[in-house]
C-alpha cells in the first residue's frame, strides 16, 4: 500500500441545496475530502435591478431595493434614500432620522437572528434556529404594526417615511429590548459556547485582516478579522454620531483571529450594541411631521453620488448618476455579500468539505443582493 492512485473529483454544490442559503452553485474540486478549489457560480436570481431602475422614477426604485437583501429591507431603503437626498440636497427632520435609526437597528437584529439561526442549522443545531425565529417574529410584528408589511416595507422614502409611528410604538420597542437582552445570554449558552459548535467553527476559514481589506470584505466578515471598522462610527451617516456604542471585533477567543467563530460572534455582540442604540433613541424621538420634507417631484440636478451604509452584511454602496431627468441615469448597487462571497476560494482551500459549509455560512450571504 505504498502509492494509491488518487484523482481529484469535481462536485457541484447547489444550486438547490439548503447549505448554500439560496440559489448558489459552488463547483468544488476535491482531493478526497480536502477542498482544492471552490468556484462560485452566481446569477440564478438575477433580475437586472440596475436596468429596471433606469426606467423608474427615483421614488419608484425603493421597492426594488427592498428585494435585494430581502431579510434586511429597511437598511437597503435607508442607503438609497440617503443617496437621493444627498443628490437633491435636502435635510430630513430629526424625527425622521430617529425613527429611521430605530428601524434600521431593529432590522439589523432581525437579520443577524436569521444569520445566527441558519448558521446553527448548518452546524446541525436545529433548536437555536427556532429560538431565533421566535424573537425575529417579535421584530416583524413591530414593523407590521408600523407600516403593514412584514418583509418588504417600502417604508423609508426619499425625504421621509411612508407612515408615522403608531401610538404604542415606543412601548412595544421598549418591551422588546427588555425581553431580548436575556435571550442573547440564552443563545450564548445554547449555541455560541456549545462545545460541538466551537469544534465546528474555531480555527476554520481563517481570514487575515490584510486579505479581507484587499478582497473587499466588509461588515462582520471584516470585523471578525479584528479590523475595528464600522461605517456607523468611521464614516457616520444619518444621526449615528449621536449614539454611544461599541464596535465588536474578532479576538480569537476560542481559536484564531478571523475564524468562523469570530465572524459569528461579532454578529451576536452587534445585536447587544443595536439594543443600546435603540434604547438611546426610543425615548428621544422629537415631535414633528414625517411627511413634511417629502418632495412632490424628485428631480435631482446633474451629478453623481456614492453613498455607503453599514447594513448587517457589510458595506452597501449606491452609486447614482443623475442626468437631471426624473429617472436615474445609472444606479449601481455595491452589495456586501457579493464582495464577501468572492473571498471564499481564497480562504476555504485546504479545509474539509464539511468545513466549506461552515465557511460559507459564516459570511451570511443573501443571494438576492448578490445577483440583484
Amino acid at each position: 500500500m505504498s502509492e494509491l492512485r488518487t484523482e481529484e473529483m469535481v462536485i457541484n454544490m447547489g444550486p438547490q441545496h439548503p447549505s448554500t442559503h439560496g440559489v448558489l452553485r459552488l463547483k468544488v474540486v476535491l482531493n478526497g475530502e480536502i477542498v482544492v478549489e471552490v468556484k462560485p457560480y452566481i446569477g440564478y436570481l438575477h433580475r437586472c435591478f440596475e436596468k429596471h431602475c433606469e426606467a423608474m422614477t427615483y421614488p419608484q426604485v425603493i421597492p426594488y431595493t427592498d428585494r435585494m437583501d430581502y431579510v434586511n429591507a429597511m437598511n437597503n431603503e435607508l442607503g438609497y434614500a440617503i443617496a437621493v437626498e444627498k443628490l437633491l440636497g435636502i435635510q430630513v427632520s430629526e424625527r425622521v432620522e430617529y425613527i429611521r435609526v430605530i428601524m434600521a437597528e431593529l432590522q439589523r437584529i432581525a437579520s443577524h437572528l436569521i444569520a445566527i439561526g441558519t448558521y446553527g442549522n448548518d452546524a446541525g443545531a436545529f433548536t437555536p434556529f427556532l429560538y431565533c425565529f421566535i424573537d425575529r417574529e417579535k421584530i416583524l410584528e413591530i414593523f407590521e404594526m408600523t407600516c403593514g408589511a412584514r418583509l418588504l416595507y417600502n417604508y423609508i422614502w426619499v425625504g421621509g417615511l411612508s407612515h408615522d409611528i403608531p401610538k404604542d410604538f415606543q412601548k412595544k420597542v421598549k418591551e422588546f429590548v427588555k425581553y431580548f437582552r436575556p435571550r442573547i445570554d440564552q443563545l450564548n449558552g445554547l449555541l455560541s459556547y456549545n462545545k460541538i459548535f466551537i469544534e465546528r467553527t474555531a480555527n476554520i476559514g481563517i481570514l487575515p485582516a490584510d486579505v479581507a481589506i484587499n478582497g473587499g470584505a466588509s461588515g462582520p466578515t471584516l470585523r471578525g478579522s479584528g479590523v475595528k471598522f464600522d461605517l456607523r462610527k468611521n464614516d457616520p451617516y444619518s444621526i449615528y454620531h449621536k449614539f454611544d456604542f461599541d464596535i465588536p471585533t474578532g479576538t480569537g477567543e476560542v481559536g484564531t483571529v478571523g475564524d468562523c467563530w469570530d465572524r459569528y460572534m461579532v454578529r451576536v455582540r452587534e445585536m447587544e450594541q443595536s439594543l443600546r442604540i435603540i434604547e438611546q433613541a426610543v425615548d428621544n424621538i422629537p415631535e414633528g411631521d414625517v411627511f413634511a420634507d417629502i418632495p412632490k417631484r424628485v428631480k435631482p440636478p446633474v451629478g453623481e453620488v456614492y453613498v455607503r451604509t453599514e447594513t448587517p452584511k457589510g458595506e452597501l454602496g449606491y452609486y447614482i448618476i443623475s442626468d437631471g431627468s426624473l429617472n436615474p441615469y445609472r444606479v449601481k448597487a455595491r452589495s456586501p455579500s457579493f464582495c464577501n462571497l468572492s473571498l471564499i476560494n481564497q480562504i476555504s482551500r485546504g479545509y474539509m468539505i464539511a468545513d466549506l459549509i461552515m465557511i460559507l455560512g459564516s459570511f451570511d450571504i443573501v443571494l438576492g443582493e448578490i445577483d440583484r
Partner: protein, 159 residues
C-alpha cells in the same frame, strides 16, 4: 487627504495621463485618467506612503455617452480614512483597458460584472467571463442601446 492634493500628486508623477479633475457640485469630485495607464496609477495609489488606498469600495461600468463607456473606481483608505473617485473613459468601438484585479483582489468580480453588463474588456484579467447572466447570453444589458434578444435557447425572452 484633499482631492486637490491627490490630483497634484498624481499630476506630478503621471503628467498628461491624469486628464482632468472635476469638482463642480453636487458631483462627488472625480479625476479622469488615461485608461491605458490605469493599472500603474492604481498601484501608485495603493503603495504611495501618503495615499495608501488599500481598498476598492466599488467598481462600476457606466454607459458614459453616445460613443464612450466609463469604468469608475471608488477607492477608500482604511489606513488614512480618505476617499477618491477615478474614472477611465474608453471608446465603445474598442472598450479595452488593463485590469486592476492584481492591485485589489475584489476587482476580479467587479470587473467581470462590468464586462457582463457593459461589455468593457479588462485585459490581463485572470478569468473574464460573464458573471450574472448565462454564459451564452447575447449583448450587454446595461448599455443604453441594448436590445434584448428575441429567443434564448428556444424560449421567447421579451414577455
Amino acid at each position: 487627504m484633499d482631492i486637490n492634493e491627490i490630483y497634484n500628486k498624481l499630476k506630478a508623477v503621471f503628467g498628461d495621463d491624469i486628464i482632468e479633475l472635476k469638482t463642480d457640485k453636487p458631483v462627488d469630485p472625480f479625476i479622469i485618467v488615461n485608461p491605458e495607464k490605469i493599472n500603474a496609477i492604481c498601484y501608485f495609489l495603493r503603495d504611495e506612503e501618503s495615499l495608501q488606498f488599500d481598498s476598492l469600495s466599488c467598481l462600476s461600468g457606466v454607459d458614459f455617452d453616445k460613443d464612450n463607456l466609463a469604468s469608475v473606481y471608488h477607492l477608500y483608505s482604511y489606513a488614512l480614512n480618505h476617499k477618491l473617485v477615478i474614472k477611465a473613459i474608453v471608446p465603445k468601438e474598442k472598450p479595452e483597458l488593463p485590469t486592476v484585479s492584481d492591485v485589489w483582489a475584489t476587482a476580479e468580480w467587479h470587473e467581470r460584472e462590468a464586462y457582463d453588463m457593459m461589455g468593457i474588456i479588462y485585459t490581463g484579467h485572470p478569468d473574464l467571463r460573464r458573471i450574472l447572466t448565462p454564459e451564452d447570453w447575447e449583448g450587454h444589458p446595461l448599455r443604453k442601446d441594448y436590445k434584448v434578444q428575441e429567443f434564448y435557447n428556444g424560449m421567447k425572452v421579451p414577455y
